[in-house]
């Protein structure tokens, strides 16, 4: 099987030759490595809880442009610019550059490698088969460079749409560069139809000294999709990185955040909420790597698993020998609604410095029956009561989203998701 995959993807990679100047050698190297190691083994420690069967089963074809132009959702509040990708390609006519081009440099990734190919890929560390294919089949993506001292207030929205793409895959790569003291907010959205496609995306970012990068993700892929996303961020001294990833869609979704704290007083907030419905698998892996002293990180993850849903969270914090005075916290909480649902957690600390304060907490359980009863005894119907409790449950992560329009939109989706489960919920409550 691995041979078939290698042959298939090699042909795809070869066909891309010349499309991205300066990237051919990088692609060829990644392809060779993929041939050697393939997709992560089912028993690989980092893949303990999710399933790559769909990827191992056969080659996903390069994605075609759709026959019918898709509908583009309205923007979430004010935005500095809006980039739309349809089936893995930048759709210029659907995008809106706004005023962003006046303050920052924006270019397609195709124009990026010729000058600095090696540098572009070096952030992507510890490559597994998925990351390797992303490089080997790299074709499109956006590069945003914000110069030193420039603050972009409104979010930049990047919308990814997949449609009519059964058996096809898009491999995208975005690059964000923030100069010293720069500020940028990016909202990534993912939507798609029910075809069984694969969205494979990497976002890599450098946050220079004193810069601030806020990164929000709203993943609402179609329910037939495989969504694999990796985020690699390096944070320099006094820099700030905040990511909040909301996972709702896809049949199987994997989100990874690899954050390196490279300067003193760097700060990272790595948060996520996953709403996992019937038959879905939502898997999150975070790795916050404290390389230098005096950096801080904080993680809040909340997952809710409904019938036959499976959620997993593996959060690793490493503190290097010299990274004294590191403060790293992590909190994971999972709600399990049904006995066919499953929640897994592996909060891991690996610490080689002595003067640190690190902690993690994890809880798994169902909604507090006493709380539901209390709310209903005050006249609130059970469906609303459950919704309110789930909203409260996820609030810790959502409250940290500083852009009102984005936070409200995320909160609203939690309400909608809970309501869509209402029928079943009512039956269950009456039964109990």
């Amino acid at each position: 099987m691995q041979d078939d995959l290698t042959t298939g993807y090699s042909a795809q990679s070869a066909a891309l030759k010349g499309t991205v100047p300066g990237a051919d050698a990088l692609r060829a190297k990644a392809m060779t490595d993929f041939g050697a190691q393939g997709f992560p083994h089912a028993k690989a420690e980092d893949w303990r809880y999710s399933d790559l069967k769909a990827l191992r089963a056969g080659v996903y074809a390069p994605v075609d442009a759709p026959k019918v132009a898709p509908e583009v959702p309205a923007a979430m509040g004010e935005s500095a610019a809006r980039f739309v990708f349809v089936n893995g390609r930048y759709a210029e006519d659907l995008s809106d550059l706004g005023d962003l081009w006046q303050a920052a440099s924006i270019r397609p990734i195709a124009n990026h490698f010729s000058s600095s190919s090696a540098r572009t890929d070096e952030l992507v560390r510890g490559k597994d088969g998925i990351a390797l294919l992303n490089t080997a089949l790299l074709r499109d993506g956006m590069v945003i460079s914000v110069p030193a001292g420039v603050e972009i207030d409104d979010p930049v929205e990047i919308v990814h749409i997949m449609t009519e793409a059964a058996g096809q895959a898009a491999h995208l790569r975005h690059v964000i560069e923030l100069g010293e003291g720069a500020k940028l907010t990016v909202l990534e959205r993912f939507i798609g139809d029910d075809s069984a496609y694969w969205q494979n995306i990497i976002l890599q970012a450098r946050v220079a000294e004193g810069a601030s990068f806020s990164h929000f993700r709203l993943q609402e892929e179609g329910l037939g999709a495989v969504h694999t996303a990796k985020v690699y961020v390096n944070v320099d001294a006094s820099g700030q990185y905040h990511v909040m990833n909301m996972t709702m869609g896809a049949k199987m979704a994997r989100f990874e955040a690899h954050v390196r704290m490279l300067g003193e007083e760097a700060d990272a907030t790595v948060d996520g909420v996953a709403l996992t419905g019937t038959g879905q698998v939502h898997d999150t892996l975070t790795h916050v790597d404290h390389v230098v002293p005096f950096a801080t990180s904080d993680q809040i993850f909340r997952t809710v698993a409904d019938a036959r849903g499976k959620t997993a969270f593996a959060g690793k914090v490493t503190v290097a020998k010299d990274a004294q005075k590191t403060a790293a916290d992590q909190s994971f909480k999972a709600l399990v609604f049904d006995r066919t649902a499953e929640a897994n957690a592996k909060p891991e600390l690996e610490i080689f410095a002595d003067d640190v304060k690190c902690s993690h907490g994890a809880t798994i359980g169902e909604l507090d029956a006493k709380a539901i009863f209390y709310l209903t005894s005050r006249g609130i119907d059970p469906v609303t009561a459950r919704r309110m409790l789930v909203e409260a449950f996820t609030a810790g992560a959502l409250e940290r989203v500083t852009v009102d329009s984005i936070r409200d939109a995320m909160m609203e989706r939690i309400g909608t998701w809970m309501s869509s489960r209402a029928d079943r919920t009512v039956a269950e409550v009456q039964e109990a």
């Binding site: 399990v336 909060p347 002595d354 003067d355």
Partner: protein, 489 residues
């Protein structure tokens, strides 16, 4: 904090301080060096085992040959040459000691040095009201002396070496041996099945509360020997037993392998309390020598409302790989794990527990305290698993790590896997440095630096220590102090 140079000097002083590092000079019976079918036949013959036991061993050996050494733990050590060790070493016996008087006096002297008052215990046996501990002493490969047998027999409790049990209670051994840890469970367990030489067997009959603490002291004495003991404890319905285990080994430059298997079975309403103070030789300050402690310990809470409680204080061994676990198969059964693991110098410990909740209303508690000093690596690794049919499961886990030096590592790797919505799983973990404020406060009340460290560490471990039987708790507290002496820096 005091100068690092001072601390270094103190460390150097301490490392020469392994109190149990003496060698006893007695006549030994040894199997030929290396591992083969012949050696296994030799062991089995030496122990006058029935044919079925030999077959069982050979089957295990065949399985082991096909298995691979595990590599997932956060420990590293040179590859073990399994052919470069003796698998059987026993003090030469004339006809088997009928009483303690017949035991080699050198051997008894050894136990005295270890602080095991076997003789004293027997003398005390007639004294009414005094606390009693029945002791089984395992010296290298064989059990040399078991005390209090007669008195235990009156209560119906069987407490003897496993070799004797194989001969005297074959049906019981056949029924339970490898019923909790299957032969192919892991590499070291399979090896143990093939070559285990002795260990302890305990059976507590229905409704009996074992009248005294049972205790086994293990000691590796001979050079180049592996110790592979096997412990099997069966607590029948409504019974209770508390079992203590202590371990020491002489100082040797070579590493020695200790691959034990401990199996506990608790039937309906039975309770087993299993306490370990592990002080195998940890190697010298440069990490030379020391015991590889690769142990499989598992309890099956088979019966309704049964309970197993593991308490361990781990201060010894060069490399530890050990996860005393509970399979909670009986409805309402309870598993507990209380652990203190101290590592200093170049010691490596990867230890923790697994709580497998298979039945409804099962509960588990995990309290783990890791203390890392010197250049050591200390990892907590644990699994809490709730199967879909297990309703109303409760687990509480707390693992705290304390760092006492700037060159050590403290790691926490818990796995939580839940397939039932009625479970309530709570896990908390912290890692921090020993507090400067606490140290200064103690010193401002007159305590020396080491005394202050020992006091704070003992306080840190309190929740675990209080689960040890009294006699052990005092010993364990002292051990903590000794293990950490000079580690401040």
């Amino acid at each position: 904090m005091a100068g690092t140079a001072e601390a270094q000097k103190q460390i150097a002083e301490v490392t020469g301080d392994y109190k149990y590092g003496f060698v006893t000079d007695i006549d030994m019976d040894m199997a030929p060096k290396g591992l083969s079918e012949e050696v296994i036949r030799f062991i089995s013959a030496k122990k006058e085992e029935p044919e079925w036991m030999l077959e069982w061993r050979l089957k295990a050996y065949a399985m082991w040959l096909k298995m691979e050494e595990p590599d997932w733990a956060k420990v590293s050590f040179p590859k073990i040459d399994y052919q470069d060790a003796y698998y059987f070493a026993a003090p030469k016996k004339k006809d088997g000691p009928k009483s303690l008087d017949e035991v080699d006096p050198e051997l008894l002297a050894t136990y005295e040095k270890l602080g095991i008052p076997i003789r004293e215990q027997e003398v005390l046996a007639g004294v009414q009201g005094s606390a009693k501990v029945a002791v089984d002493a395992v010296f290298d490969s064989v059990s040399v002396a078991t005390t209090f047998r007669e008195e235990l027999k009156k209560a119906g409790v069987i407490f003897m070496s496993i070799s004797e049990a194989i001969r005297e209670y074959p049906d019981m051994v056949k029924k339970y041996l490898a019923s909790v840890v299957p032969v192919r469970d892991n590499y070291f367990a399979a090896l143990n099945c093939a070559v285990f030489t002795d260990g302890t067997f305990v059976y507590v009959p229905k409704g009996v509360r074992c009248p005294m603490e049972l205790s086994t002291y293990f000691r590796i004495n001979a050079e180049n020997t592996g110790q592979f003991e096997r412990t099997l404890i069966v607590a029948d319905e409504g019974s209770y037993v508390s079992y203590l285990e202590g371990c020491t080994a002489p100082m040797r430059d070579e590493n020695q392998l200790h691959a034990a298997v401990v199996e506990l079975v608790a039937l309906d309403d039975a309770e087993i309390k299993y306490s370990t103070v592990q002080n195998w030789y940890p190697g010298d300050k440069n990490g030379k020598g020391g015991i590889y402690n690769f142990v499989t310990k598992r309890a099956l809470c088979k019966g309704k409302n049964s309970k197993v409680s593991w308490t361990q204080v781990e201060t010894g061994s060069a490399v530890t790989w050990k996860y005393p676990s509970c399979v909670l198969a009986g409805e309402g059964s309870v598993g507990e794990f209380y652990s203190v693991a101290v590592t200093n110098n170049y010691q490596q410990a990867d230890t923790g527990t697994k709580m497998i909740h298979m039945a409804p209303n099962t509960r588990s508690t995990i309290i783990s305290k890791g203390i890392s000093a010197g250049k050591s690596q200390n990892t907590y690794r644990g699994l809490v698993k709730v199967l879909s049919g297990a309703e109303n499961v409760r687990n509480y886990t707390q693992c705290d790590s304390l760092l006492v030096s700037s060159e050590c590592g403290a790691h926490t790797v818990p796995y939580i896997e839940v397939k039932n919505p009625t479970a309530q799983i709570e896990h908390e973990a912290t890692t921090s440095k020993i507090s400067e404020d606490q140290l200064f406060y103690c010193r401002a009340r007159g305590l020396g630096e080491e005394e202050a460290v020992a006091m704070i560490v003992n306080g840190f471990c309190k929740e675990v220590m209080q689960h040890l039987p009294m006699e052990f708790a005092v010993e364990a507290q002292k051990l903590l102090g000794i293990s950490l002496e000079g580690s401040v820096g």
